[in-house]
Amino acid sequence: MTDVHSIRVTVNGTEHELAVESRRTLADVLRHNLGYTGTHVGCEHGICGACTVLVDGMPARSCLMFGVQVDGRSVETVEALGTPDALSPLQQAFTDHHGLQCGFCTPGFLMLITAFLRETPSPTDDEIREVVASNLCRCTGYQSILRAVRAAADARAGS
């Protein structure tokens, strides 16, 4: 039985109106209805965090939300950060410190940390480690991610 709802959602500043099945995940809505394929799905049970996006500014696992839950809300995905020609400071710090290898988990980390640095502009190393521990990366061993976050936070503080 399909159970379709009309929703209106703002993604990266652009408003979209679409009909979605009630059970369709936000991740699928973003990726396959709207084409924001930078959001990746790594576990579909809320542990790995690869699918992290910001909903009204707060990090959310888009695999654990339904599309209908963002009706009337604002979503930010990795595509809202910098562009290849103009990386955001956090993205620049990731490339400077080799904070990514295969790049699959990376958008989730970027969104998680973007929200974190907005809320905690001058984090301690322990706070950084704690927030980075929210998501899984299988390639880096995390220390390059930790360095990238430290550098991005320091750059904000210094600018």
Binding site: E21, R23, R24, R31, H32, L34, G35, Y36, T37, G38, T39, H40, V41, G42, C43, E44, H45, I47, C48, A50, T77, V78, E79, L81, G82, T83, P84, D85, L87, Q91, F94, T95, D96, H98, L100, Q101, C102, G103, F104, C105, T106, P107, L110, R129, E130, V132, A133, S134, N135, L136, C137, R138, C139, T140, G141, Y142, Q143, S144, I145, L146
Partner: protein
Amino acid sequence: MPDAPGSPAAVAAAGAAPDLPVVAAAVTPTAGGWIGRSLRRAEDRYLLTGRGSFVGDHQAPGTLHLVLVRSQVASATIEAIDASAALRQPGVATVITAADLAGVAPLRGVLARPEFVATDMPILAADRVRHVGEPVAAVLADSAYTAEDAAELVEVAYGELTAVTNIEAALAPGASAVHEAAPGNVLVDVTPASSPGLDDIFASAAHVVEVEVSTGRVTAAPLEGRACVATFDERTGQVVLQTSTQVPHTVRTAVALSLGMDEHQVRVISPDVGGGFGQKCVVAREEVLTAAVARQLRRTVTWVEDRREGLTSGFQAREQFYLVRGAFDADGRVLGLDADIRCDVGAYSCYPVTCGVEVLMAANELPGPYRVRSYRARSRGVATNKTPIAPYRGVSRPQAVLAMERLMDEAGRATGLGAVEVRDRNLIDALEFPYRNVMGASYDAGTYRESLARCAELLGYGSWPGVQARALAEGRLVGLGLACFVEPTAYGTASFGMRKMTIVPGYERATVRMDPSGSVIVMTGTHSHGQGHATTYAQIVADALGIDPGRVRLRQGDTELVPHGWGTFASRSIVAGGGAVARASADLAGQLREIAAHMMEAAPGDVELAGGRAQVRGDPATAVPIGELARTAHHAAHLLPEGLGRGLEASSSFDPEGTFSNATHGAVVEISPSTGGVRLVRYVVVEDCGVMINPMIVDGQVAGGVAQGIGAALFEELCYDESGQPVSGSFVDYLVPTAADLPEIEIHHLCTPTPRTPTGAKGMGEGGTIGAPAAVLSAVNDALAQVGASVGRIPVRPADVVAAIAAAGGGRAPGDGLDTGAAPGGPPDGRRKTG
């Protein structure tokens, strides 16, 4: 970004990374060249901005979603499959079973040697299932949601059989046979070494040390699971399979064989790959199935693995047992080594490397960096009703090193020499290279003793006894562990041929093509999935041609575009792929010199290429931009004599003889005697992989590898209940380490360039994973030795530690302040050393 999913252009473009600058701004090359510099990666900009292209990103309109009905029992006959309820669901196109796949051959990995029993891995199970999660039927529907629902409605009637779920049960007399072809469940049984006189050596040795180690079943768990999209292209008559793989050409071979097609009728495209670590270097039946169904239905079909499938049905690894005895003389020098090794290979043999991959490597490489002159080993691969194994980063080396290092630790205790001295006396010395080991392998030069000395120094080994004693007095159990190893990398065809596989990997081929603008396209059969080849290959090309690496682009992952090659696994790419790239680049540089020499009326040998220009050596007035040479070669070839220009391209292959990286890893742990928890306090790596093309990338590989090794040492295990049900089907149960679980990994380099590769680089992608379990276990046992306890199994679970301490008498040494808490009794650790 909304793309144009599924259009032929999108499908074709999926294999090629977008053109992006390697470095943000033009950088002036130094006299030292580009090799050896930590350039930012070419791949990063598009991956960081969500512009990557992973298989699961592509869902063209009209795509059929394939969801598998998988066996819920470990061993059974299939009595009946009733798909009628599923077929009645709106949106369900069809349900495919083995009966619908007539003419699709099973995957059959073969070693052509008498010690190996070949078995088939069916694409869908026909009359028999051999592990939970085995694919039984495929539901195809207009959405993944509909297909998931319908899959639950497919009724499979099983006639349950007794499952064998561990090595002991499988080897027991009268055990049920997983395969009729192997009544005793032994699929591989090799004795690759049997030195004469070994029993006499043991009989007369001053010290005989015996250790047992066992290692839990783990899996690579790349963050991107496996995924496929297949179409049938009527224009070309090709099955086009996009798949998340490390080995596009090998997948093409398998699909072509299974579907009975010529290889040119199958095109395999692998765009960005979200990690592989070996799991994607073999061919999965889901890849063949997706291609077969797309051909049969003439529809676009996609299968995207979910994490539960990945953890229960994706290839697994490393469930092994070692019994190793070492004979040592009075000075602690090893005289002989005797090993009995058993690997639980699961229910099927993977293609193409077979279930022998762990079994052979375990026995062949056990002696490692040590001067072992007499050696006997038997190694068996035992079939069980569990998910099949495949290579996982390091394959058997993490376990073999674990066994050898435990032997060395015990020998250090038995002889009183300690961990460093006993290793140092047995490590191959710098003066002995090239060293031919007891198995016939020829090690190129390395820094075995130097890396040990450096690592021990960095860890403060000299003052460790005092540190440890003071900690104990404070009620803290701390331990320092070491692991020395050699990492054989980049086997060539000669080495792989000795395994007797029916297809023999090893070489790599590269085409380097300069366009009329002076930019370069590199095409190789290796397939970077995080290793940064777009960057490192560009550095190699840039040095050879005297151009900026930003002018070099990599094309990979499309069997239609790139030369035949073997993909990225076994720490081979920078050696085999990079070697082929270096050779082809040198050839192309020669062509450029000849064109320049003609234009300058100079001798080719006097022309140098640097800084984007060609000039007569020492005479800047003669400088011509390389772009001008390229333009001339293509657009004004009439100015050149015949045989020069008329295109600018070179292809070359490289078939490495094998090269050997080495490292020592060191770990410091603190153990909570009451909870059994192990906390890593320090982790130090001293490694030597020869010339580093890009040190930043090398460090990234080491750190990531160590993290996986620590995961295997302390956290990760795929558990099964006694009926063969997997019970680690989520990341809640299968504990991939997080940032909170890992220490800073301190990485130090030694550099012994190898003469065996064009660049002097050795492979190094697996080393981190190889050393870590042994270093961690060594540290744990150094800590536990203070209370007379030890453990011999990884992952080292808190309960194992508590039980070991309890078995050793509660761990309360006279006068110490150790809080052993309410340690549950539990059985004594049956794996303790007996030496």
